[in-house]
Subunit: 146 residues, 2 copies
Amino acid sequence: MLVTQKNQYALRAIFELAKYKGQGPVKIYEIAEAQNIPLRFLEVILSRLKRSGIVESKRGYTGGYKLIRDPMEITVADIFRFMDESLGPIECVACVSEKSNCPYQGQCAFFPMWQKVQDAIRDVFDKTTIHDLLEVDNSEGVHCCM
Amino acid sequence: MLVTQKNQYALRAIFELAKYKGQGPVKIYEIAEAQNIPLRFLEVILSRLKRSGIVESKRGYTGGYKLIRDPMEITVADIFRFMDESLGPIECVACVSEKSNCPYQGQCAFFPMWQKVQDAIRDVFDKTTIHDLLEVDNSEGVHCCM
DNA sequence: TACTTTCTCGATCGAATTAGTCGGGATTGA
DNA sequence: TCAATCCCGACTAATTCGATCGAGAAAGTA
């Protein structure tokens, strides 16, 4: 899977939080229900996102999670990076995409192609913000799975 | 990993066969050595590629594998498709990229993005032929892993 | 015929990654 | 004090992936 479930969950959690931006904290079980994410797993995910500073939390009765940054300033790539500690490069069997690890030092027929793919993917994720996704969500015209 | 080792091996095996196109069959251990692929694993891979009709084999003393189709007519995407029985779509947690499986029938904020990524990847793999890769290999200017 | 080489096929194993769970603790507000 | 909620690390389960193996079938060679 190009994007792991975990990362997709993370994205959807942030997306959900963005909906309620400016309205006080959202409880984890609300996010879990709304986005159909296993609650206990979501805990793991949110605690990671919290560490990255994109999300804030509060405990107790009035507790929950809050999105700190502006949805316009958060890209999908950001989220994946926070989750993974970097949106990893394609792992070329030969190259491992690191000059130092490449057994073909200097010449590899496939590398330029891996690069292209890499860049193409990154381009989409870098250019899509949470705000963009919310807009899609609000517009009627868009249809899923077709 | 976006492209599994197995698929990368497949690509490199075909690439290797393409080099000797028109020169009689290449033995499996020659391919394995040249491309540094575990021999027994390569058996599995080639037998699959054979079933897809891109490769031909002959047994016995003078045996080996031969590429049937023209390297100009084989794209990288083809190879991955043969291996996987389709270059699968991104597996969206919610959609699974099948209209019928999508719980959000009709509305999913993320789908257009998955589509874009999908298309971007496919575009590269669809447009790169084995012939292209051979050319990269022959040109001096290209450098690997940087 | 007997023998060697090479491909053929299915089963299986092991390691790594990923998904998901759990128990118990710390805060916070009522 | 109590209930609700987040917090944390360890743990387990499931799946995928990479790789190996044994035995057999074709093809040429002597």
